[in-house]
């Protein structure tokens, strides 16, 4: 839930998603869901020459389970706030 909330605050930012099949896609984060599936608009593939598969494509839906990394802009997230929220969530988890 926490990381889902982080992604919701990042909508409309340019992010780079690295997938588990080594494909790297940069795009504008349009939406995210509970499975961390990602919708990107205005995409560009990183190594276009090696991956011409997506030449006619402008936006895409990426399944959450195949994402390795999401590179976000520096300062895109308030790390202090995130750390505090994580500690609170961890506290409630251990209580249960």
């Amino acid at each position: 839930m926490l990381i889902f909330s982080v992604f919701k605050t990042l909508t409309d930012q340019r992010v780079t998603v690295e997938l588990k099949n080594e494909l790297s896609i940069t795009g504008t984060l349009k939406s995210v869901d509970q499975f961390l599936n990602i919708r990107l608009d205005n995409i560009s593939v990183h190594d276009e020459a090696r991956h011409p598969h997506m030449m006619a494509v402008k936006n895409c839906f990426i399944r959450g389970s195949v994402v390795r990394y999401v590179q976000i802009p520096a300062g895109g997230v308030d790390t202090q706030l995130l750390e505090d929220a994580t500690r609170r969530e961890a506290a409630t988890q251990t209580k249960r």
Binding site: N21, P52, H53, M54, A56, R63, V66
Partner: protein
């Protein structure tokens, strides 16, 4: 909510977890991102020859095998000369 509703009846390109590329018209989907594609074809990429298109017809693709679904711009796609493209097949997803 990240939804596939925007892609219904559009020409989409799907990359599967084994590296295959399928193109078709998205007819339906569900919460698990199982997809029904009509008029689907597989595009086989290789380094030696151009892209080979294998017609598949009406397909139901299980959501857990999908890597990504992308909307194709039909004009741009028809401008591409598939026979001139040389590329390695996409790697499979490794968990």
């Amino acid at each position: 909510m990240s939804s596939l509703a925007g892609y219904v009846d559009k020409l989409v390109l799907m990359i599967l977890q084994d590296g295959r590329t399928i193109v078709g018209t998205l007819a339906g989907f569900d919460q698990k991102s199982n997809i029904v594609l009509s008029n689907s074809t597989e595009r086989v990429y290789s380094l030696e020859e151009g892209v080979e298109e294998v017609p598949l017809g009406l397909y139901l693709v299980k959501g857990d095998t999908i890597t990504l679904i992308a909307e194709i711009d039909p004009e741009k796609d028809s401008a591409i000369d598939l026979s001139s493209i040389r590329a390695e097949p996409l790697p499979a997803i490794r968990y």
